[in-house]
C-alpha cells in the first residue's frame, strides 16, 4: 500500500449509555439522526470532504448494525483500492485478547494498522458530535506550529466550561494546562476530542502508556497530561462553527431541533460540504389531503395524514389521521397511530404509539420522552 500523509482513526466503540433506550441494541454511532443519516455519517463525511481517504473505524459495543452500515465505505466514496474504510474490532493474539480498555488503548491495539500506512499524521476522532469540519485546516496549523499534538478546541460559555475538558493556552496557542471539568476554569476553550498527532510521537507515547500500570489509557486523562508534563509541543486549533453533542437524550433532542427553522446553523442542504450516508432507496414521501406540516424535515418513504409541527420524520415514519406530532423526532419506521399525540419525544426505530395515546409534554422543564426501538406504547403505559 502507498504512503498516506494523514489517516484517521474513528473511535466508534462506545456504548453511548447516555442515549438510554436508543442504544440498547445498537452502538451510538449507528443511531439514526437528522432524518436519513446515522451519527457516524458526520465524521465520515468530514473525512471525505477533507480529502482523507483512509479511515480505521474502531468498534466494540454491539457492532453488527454499524459494520453493515459502513460496509465497504462506498457511501462515503471510501471504497478505494488503496486505503478506504477498515473496521477495527478488538481481536485475539497469541497472548490472548482483550477489549479496548480506553480511547488510547484502542489505538495502541491497532498500531500495526497505522504503521502499515506509515502516515506522517494521524487524526483521532470520535463519532458523537454534529459538526462540519475541514480537517485539512487543522492539519495545516499542526504543521505550521511544528506541533507534536494538536487538539481541536471550541470556545464555550464560561458558565458551562466546568462541564468540559478545558485547555489553557499561551498567546501562541500552545497548550500550557489541561483541566478535566475544572470547578474554577481559567479558560473557556473546550477540547472537542479531535486530535492530530505526528505519527512517530503517537507511537512513542502510546507504547509508553501501554506499559504504564497506573494509566487508564485515555487520551484526555492520561496521554495529554503526560505529554504536557514532558514539555512536548501541544497546540490548539480553534474551530469556529457549529459543533454540538448528540450523546445524551437531551442533547440529541436539542441538536435535532437545531436542524429545523428557515436558516439553521447546521444546514443539511449545504452542497459544498455534503453529508453523505448509506441510504436505502425508498420512494418519495406522501403528504395526505388533510395533513398539516410546518417547520419539519420529512424523509423518503414517510406517510403523513395528521399534523406535524417542528419535528423530524426519518425514513418510513408514519403519522396517521388526526395524530399530532410536535417538537419530536421519529426515527426510521416509527409510527404514530390515529388520534395519538406525541410531544417533545424521540420515538425509536419502528416504535409504535397506539391510537389515542398521549405521549410527552411541551413542558421544557420535563425530560424528553423516549420510546426505544421496536417498542409499542399502548394506552395506560
Amino acid at each position: 500500500m502507498s504512503r498516506k500523509e494523514c489517516i484517521a482513526m474513528l473511535l466508534a466503540g462506545g456504548q453511548g449509555s447516555r442515549l438510554g433506550a436508543l442504544t440498547q441494541k445498537i452502538a451510538k454511532p449507528a443511531v439514526s439522526f437528522g432524518g436519513k443519516f446515522r451519527i457516524i455519517d458526520f465524521a465520515l463525511s468530514n473525512c471525505t470532504n477533507s480529502g482523507i481517504d483512509t479511515v480505521g473505524v474502531l468498534t466494540q459495543y454491539r457492532p453488527y448494525l454499524l459494520h453493515s452500515y459502513i460496509g465497504s465505505g462506498e457511501a462515503w466514496d471510501m471504497d478505494n483500492r488503496d486505503g478506504g474504510v477498515s473496521i477495527l474490532p478488538p481481536y485475539a493474539t497469541q497472548d490472548g485478547g482483550a477489549w479496548y480498555a480506553g480511547t488510547a488503548d484502542a489505538i495502541t491495539q491497532n498500531i500495526d494498522y497505522i504503521k502499515g500506512y506509515d502516515p506522517d499524521y494521524v487524526l483521532i476522532l470520535s463519532g458523537d458530535h454534529l459538526y462540519r469540519m475541514d480537517y485539512r485546516k487543522m492539519l495545516e496549523t499542526h504543521i505550521a506550529h511544528g506541533a507534536e499534538l494538536t487538539v481541536s478546541v471550541m470556545p464555550v460559555p464560561w458558565e458551562e466550561a466546568s462541564r468540559f475538558g478545558i485547555l489553557t493556552t499561551d498567546d501562541d496557542d500552545r497548550i500550557v494546562k489541561f483541566s478535566e471539568k475544572p470547578e474554577a476554569p481559567d479558560s473557556n476553550l473546550a477540547s472537542m476530542g479531535i486530535y492530530i498527532f505526528s505519527k512517530d510521537v503517537l507511537i512513542e507515547v502510546l507504547e509508553e502508556d501501554a506499559v504504564d500500570q497506573r494509566s487508564s489509557h485515555d487520551f484526555g486523562n492520561d496521554i495529554i497530561p503526560k505529554m504536557l508534563e514532558e514539555g512536548r509541543r501541544l497546540y490548539t486549533y480553534e474551530f469556529k462553527g457549529f459543533w454540538k453533542d448528540v450523546g445524551t437524550i437531551a442533547s440529541f433532542h436539542e441538536t435535532s431541533m437545531d436542524l429545523l427553522g428557515e436558516h439553521p446553523e447546521f444546514d443539511l442542504f449545504d452542497k459544498s460540504f455534503p453529508v453523505l450516508s448509506n441510504i436505502t432507496t425508498r420512494p418519495p414521501h406522501y403528504i395526505g389531503p388533510e395533513a398539516r406540516v410546518s417547520d419539519c424535515l420529512i424523509s423518503n418513504g414517510c406517510r403523513v395524514y395528521g399534523t406535524v409541527t417542528h419535528s423530524i420524520l426519518s425514513t418510513d415514519a408514519i403519522v396517521h389521521e388526526r395524530a399530532v406530532v410536535e417538537d419530536s423526532v421519529l426515527l426510521p419506521g416509527a409510527e404514530v397511530k390515529a388520534g395519538a399525540h406525541v410531544r417533545r419525544a424521540i420515538l425509536g426505530e419502528n416504535a409504535v404509539v397506539e391510537e389515542g395515546v398521549k405521549l410527552g409534554s411541551i413542558d421544557t422543564t420535563r425530560d424528553t420522552a423516549v420510546v426505544g426501538n421496536d417498542v409499542v406504547i399502548g394506552k395506560g403505559e
Binding site: F269, I279, P283, Y286, I287, N300
Partner: protein, 369 residues
C-alpha cells in the same frame, strides 16, 4: 433463489411515437418518474429482485442520460466480476416509431451475450411499461410448463393503441400478437421469458428478417415454438407519451395505487443521491402530494409530484403538476396542470397554466449555478 436461472435483456431504445419536450433529449427509458425514479429503474429492479446478475441493456442513440443514471449498475448490484451489466449497442433506428419492442437486429447484434451465458433462460423486458412482479415465480411457471416462450400480460384497464395485445387460445397458448390493445384485452407487458437455446436458433433462422420485431418474425411459428402466456395480476403502468405519462403519474399519487407498485419486499432501486430530507417551512401547505428528498417548501403544493431538490417559495402555488429535479418556483408564482422538466426557474409572480385536458409541458432547462 440461490440458483437463478436467467440472464436479462432490456431494450431502452424505445422512442415515443409522439414528439414531446420530455423526450427531446432522452429516450422514454430515462424519463424521470414518481419523483426520484426513471422508467429504466423498474425493469432493472425487477431483475435485481429475482437475483439476475447478468443484464444486457440495449442503448438508444441518445444514451447520455441512461449511462449517467445506470453507471456500472452498482445500485442494482450489477457491478459483478462474473456477469454484471453490459451496456450494448442498439440500432440507431432501433425500436422506433413503428412501435417495435424487440428488434431482431438488436438481438442479433448482441448474440455474444446469449452465446456466453450458461443459464437456460433469458428474461427480456422493454422499459416503458412498468410493474413490480415476482419474476422468480414466472420463471418457475415457465420452467414447469416446458414452453419455449412465456409472454407476460395483464388485463388492460383502458384502450391503448400503442400497446400490443395477445390473442390467447387453449391452455394459455398465444395464438397471435396484435398491435393495439383495447380495454379488457390481454395487454402484452413487453416482458417475456425465452429459452436461451431457442433464442439462438431463432437468431440463426431469421437472420434475413432482422428488420422485424422478434414476435413479427416468428408469428407463423407460434405453434411449433410453443409460445405460452402468464397473466400478471398486479399493477401495470404503460407510459407511451406525454399524456399517459401525466395521467399515470397522477394515478400513482393515490397511496393505494402507489402501494401496488412500491412494495418493500421487492424494492424499486434507483441511482443513490445524497439529498437531505425535504424541508417544510412554517406557513407551507402541502395536501395530497408526493415530495422527494432535498425539496424546500414554503408555499402551497397540492395534488403534485415533486422531484429532488425542488424549491417552492412562499406564496407560490403548485397544483396538479409534476415538477422535476432542481426546479425553482419563486414567490407568488403559480404552476398548474403542468409538467416542468429539470432545472426550470419560474420567476416571481409568473403563471404557468395548462388545463386538465391539455397539460402544459416545459422542456429541460440548462443547469443553474
Amino acid at each position: 433463489m440461490i440458483n437463478n436461472l436467467a440472464i436479462g435483456y432490456i431494450t431502452a431504445n424505445y422512442i415515443s411515437r409522439e414528439a414531446s419536450a420530455l423526450t427531446q433529449e432522452r429516450p422514454l427509458a430515462s424519463i424521470p418518474f414518481m419523483g426520484r425514479y426513471r422508467l429504466i429503474d423498474f425493469p432493472l429492479s425487477n431483475m435485481m429482485n429475482a437475483d439476475i446478475k447478468t443484464v444486457g441493456l440495449v442503448m438508444p442513440g441518445n444514451c447520455r442520460s441512461i449511462i449517467d443514471h445506470v453507471g456500472s449498475g452498482k445500485d442494482w448490484t450489477l457491478d459483478r466480476k462474473k456477469g454484471g451489466l453490459f451496456l450494448v449497442p442498439g440500432n440507431a433506428y432501433g425500436t422506433s416509431k413503428r412501435g417495435m419492442r424487440f428488434l431482431l437486429r438488436d438481438i442479433i447484434a448482441n448474440v455474444e451475450l446469449f452465446r456466453r451465458s450458461t443459464k437456460p433462460y433469458v428474461v427480456m423486458m422493454g422499459s416503458n411499461i412498468i410493474f413490480n412482479l415476482d419474476l422468480d415465480e414466472i420463471i418457475e411457471a415457465h420452467r414447469t410448463s416446458g414452453a419455449g416462450v412465456t409472454m407476460i400480460y395483464a388485463i388492460a384497464q383502458r384502450d391503448q393503441p400503442d400497446a400490443q395485445s395477445l390473442a390467447i387460445g387453449d391452455r394459455g397458448r398465444v395464438r397471435e400478437v396484435r398491435s393495439g390493445c383495447g380495454f379488457g384485452e390481454c395487454k402484452f407487458m413487453d416482458a417475456f421469458i425465452i429459452d436461451r437455446r431457442l433464442l439462438l436458433n431463432i437468431i440463426e433462422d431469421y437472420a434475413t428478417a432482422d428488420y422485424l420485431d422478434l414476435f413479427d418474425a416468428i408469428r407463423s411459428d407460434f405453434e411449433r415454438i410453443d409460445v405460452c402466456s402468464y397473466e400478471f395480476k398486479g399493477l401495470m403502468v404503460g407510459i407511451f407519451n406525454q399524456k399517459t405519462y401525466y395521467d399515470r403519474s397522477m394515478d400513482l399519487l393515490r397511496p393505494e395505487t402507489y402501494d401496488r407498485l412500491f412494495q418493500p419486499s421487492r424494492p424499486i432501486i434507483t441511482k443513490a443521491h445524497d439529498a437531505a430530507p425535504a424541508k417544510y417551512n412554517a406557513g407551507c401547505n402541502v395536501p395530497d402530494s408526493l415530495i422527494s428528498a432535498g425539496c424546500v417548501i414554503k408555499g402551497t403544493v397540492r395534488g403534485s409530484i415533486l422531484s429532488r431538490g425542488v424549491v417552492v417559495e412562499s406564496g407560490a402555488k403548485v397544483r396538479n403538476s409534476i415538477i422535476m429535479q432542481g426546479c425553482h418556483v419563486c414567490a407568488g408564482a403559480t404552476v398548474e396542470n403542468a409538467i416542468l422538466d429539470k432545472n426550470n426557474y419560474v420567476p416571481e409572480n409568473t403563471e404557468l397554466r395548462g388545463t386538465l385536458d391539455d397539460t402544459l409541458v416545459i422542456g429541460k432547462a440548462p443547469i443553474r449555478r
